[in-house]
């Protein structure tokens, strides 16, 4: 691989749909952690649940010749219903997780969410639900991507813009790029609006000290629940968009995914509007560059090609550690917050 090729690959990561999907999941986590201080260690669970909800719904409609309860669905309606199911599942999951844990101290939410996310994954890949979820192989893209791709206004062939070539409509396509980043923009706008509203102020108060906010007459439990559900729904949307460029695969939404989301949120800066987006872009670009450079300069008898991926993830992990130690507020965080050191 040459440098120009590497740079092109890295540049592609900057706006890839995967980057957008992770930015979205991180915006959701930003509602949890950045605004409210909730330690959600299971954002990947929300993503996976979202993609199951969408993929299974759309696959069922497709298998009944585009009919739902005997009513013929246009592609747009099918996509809308798929998204709706994904959102409803995320809401229910959030309510279920929050109901017992949000009355307790924050650590308990962390424990419950990490376990619940793993439960979603294990239920998904278990043989018992193979007909529904496809077991450990998941759901193939062609079973559920059809309606979304048919909505594309772009041509049904490879399209080259500048140095980047992608398909117009299918899988990781220009169409998906446009849709994903539009959803990211909307979510960022939502975060911006809400974090500067009285609602967001109560959440920040909860982050700083729950009892103080209680003593001022606010229903802390209700606010934490709203934040958990909203962030989870945004995570689920990220999951659906991710599956459009890949497939529904339970094992790609395990614990590492949750930690990547945490990494890129902290990298960009928690509680900031653009932190999750910048973090996601940097994270995925850096990964490609590290992988590419390692492939170029490290002889294969030192490091086999199959070891490159884990090696570069390890380097990213070290970077995260250095970042949290030396710049805990992230790239966009407010430096003044660092001086406040009361916890």
């Amino acid at each position: 691989m040459d440098f120009a090729g590497l740079l092109t690959d890295a540049g592609r990561e900057l706006f890839a749909p995967t980057t957008a999907a992770f930015a979205l999941a991180a915006i959701g986590l930003n509602f949890h952690f950045g605004l409210t201080g909730l330690l959600n260690m299971g954002q990947a669970g929300f993503m996976l649940l979202g993609m199951y909800g969408y993929a299974i719904t759309v696959r069922e409609i497709e298998q009944h010749d585009g009919q739902l309860f005997g009513i013929t669905m246009a592609a747009g309606a099918t996509v809308a219903i798929g998204f709706l199911v994904a959102i409803v599942l995320a809401v229910l999951f959030g309510l279920l997780l929050g109901w017992p844990t949000l009355k307790l101290r924050g650590d308990y939410l962390a424990i419950v969410t990490i376990a619940a996310a793993e439960m979603v994954r294990f239920l998904g890949r278990s043989q018992s639900f193979k007909d529904l979820t496809g077991g450990s192989t998941g759901i193939r893209g062609k079973d559920f991507k059809g309606p979304f791709e048919s909505l594309s206004p772009f041509p049904d062939r490879q399209v080259t813009i500048g140095p980047f070539t992608m398909h117009g409509s299918v899988s990781t396509s220009w169409w998906l790029v446009v849709v994903s980043w539009s959803v990211v923009a909307l979510a960022a706008l939502l975060f911006w609006r809400l974090s500067r509203s009285p609602w967001g102020r109560v959440l920040k108060g909860v982050r700083e000290d729950e009892d103080a906010v209680r003593s001022l007459g606010k229903n802390v439990y209700g606010y934490k629940m709203q934040a958990l559900v909203l962030g989870g729904v945004i995570g689920a949307l990220g999951g659906v968009l991710w599956s459009f460029g890949n497939a529904v695969a339970p094992d790609s939404m395990g614990r590492p995914t949750t930690f990547w989301i945490w990494t890129l949120l902290l990298l960009g800066g928690a509680a900031t509007v653009f932190g999750p987006i910048l973090g996601s872009a940097l994270f995925w670009t850096a990964l490609v560059i590290v992988k590419g450079l390692a492939a170029m300069f490290i002889p294969t008898d030192w490091l086999a090609p199959t070891q490159l991926e884990p090696f570069s993830l390890m380097l990213v992990g070290v970077t995260l550690m250095l970042l949290v130690i030396f710049r805990p507020q992230g790239i966009l965080g407010d430096r003044r917050e660092l001086a406040i050191n009361d916890r």
């Binding site: 609006r193 000290d209 003593s215 606010k218």
Partner: protein
């Protein structure tokens, strides 16, 4: 306060004494932690529009009693009323909305929020605190402006106005106490409950804190506070309630309550004047 207006003129200095116009009435409040009885209050009335001090030695149950009254803790049994309305099984938020706002022994300033945002959070009735309303700024901007004016007035009174854009975490300990008190006033409470307002405050600030508390009474706010500093209690309170081992052992005007033998026993131990040499022989 002149003698004519003094609501305590005809009140007996006995535990559980009835008041002329009680804002809080507590009856049979009982809280145990395992085998330990933390609070066992038979009867207490708190006079409206006065400054009542709640004192007692360490471990007397003052803070626990505060927590019970404000909904932060639940008693095994007992009932208590605020303006005649029962507050049992009310959440802390509901208690605060009813008009009874508290502060904490360990100050709870919201560190990574600015001083002015701390103040705004204390306001009641901001519709923009509901999710869907928050999405439409025209629905809450006007109220926000009113809240901000009020917050600035209070900050000015508490001499924090020039700090309004600093993070609360950047304030000194004493300033945080002031901020917490000012924030509690944002919702126009009928009663403020101050848990050790003087703890950790330097002497220079003590004076202005005292003035603020007296000022509250003049504005018609009732104050109930827990304090260790007897000097302060004598200076500003109208009535003193003494707790020891969970019980109310004495009540009375600040000038005389410390003369009560039960109070002296509680503070110094019941046998402080017995000659121990007899036991040693």
């Amino acid at each position: 306060m002149t003698a004519k207006e003094d609501p305590f003129a005809h009140v007996n200095a006995t535990p559980g004494a009835a008041k002329v116009d009680p804002i809080i009435v507590a009856h049979g409040v009982h809280r145990t932690f395992g085998g330990l009885t933390a609070v066992d209050v038979e009867h207490l009335e708190v006079q409206r529009n006065a400054i009542t001090a709640l004192i007692g030695p360490n471990g007397a149950g003052k803070s626990t009693f505060f927590n019970l009254l404000t909904g932060f803790d639940k008693p095994q049994k007992g009932e208590w009323f605020f303006n005649g309305e029962s507050l049992q099984s009310h959440s802390p938020a509901k208690v605060a909305r009813a008009g009874m706002v508290r502060t904490f022994q360990l100050t709870k300033a919201l560190s990574r929020m600015t001083v002015i945002e701390n103040m705004r959070l204390g306001a009641a009735g901001q519709g923009g605190e509901a999710f869907f309303t928050a999405l439409v700024p025209p629905l809450w901007r006007a109220k926000e402006a009113l809240i901000t004016i009020k917050a600035e007035e209070l900050l000015d009174r508490f001499k924090l106005l020039d700090k309004q854009n600093d993070f609360a975490g950047e304030l000194s300990g004493g300033q945080r106490k002031l901020l917490e008190m000012a924030r509690a006033l944002m919702s126009d409470p009928e009663i403020v409950m101050l848990d050790e307002p003087m703890a950790g405050v330097n002497p220079a600030l003590t004076e202005s804190l005292l003035e603020h508390i007296v000022e509250l009474r003049e504005q018609g706010v009732t104050v109930l506070f827990v304090e260790h500093d007897m000097h302060m209690v004598r200076r500003i309170s109208n009535w003193v309630v003494v707790m020891a081992e969970g019980k109310i052992i004495a009540e009375g005007p600040p000038e005389t309550v410390m003369q009560n033998t039960a109070v002296q026993d509680a503070y110094l131990g019941a046998h402080h004047d017995t000659d121990l040499s007899e036991d040693l022989s």
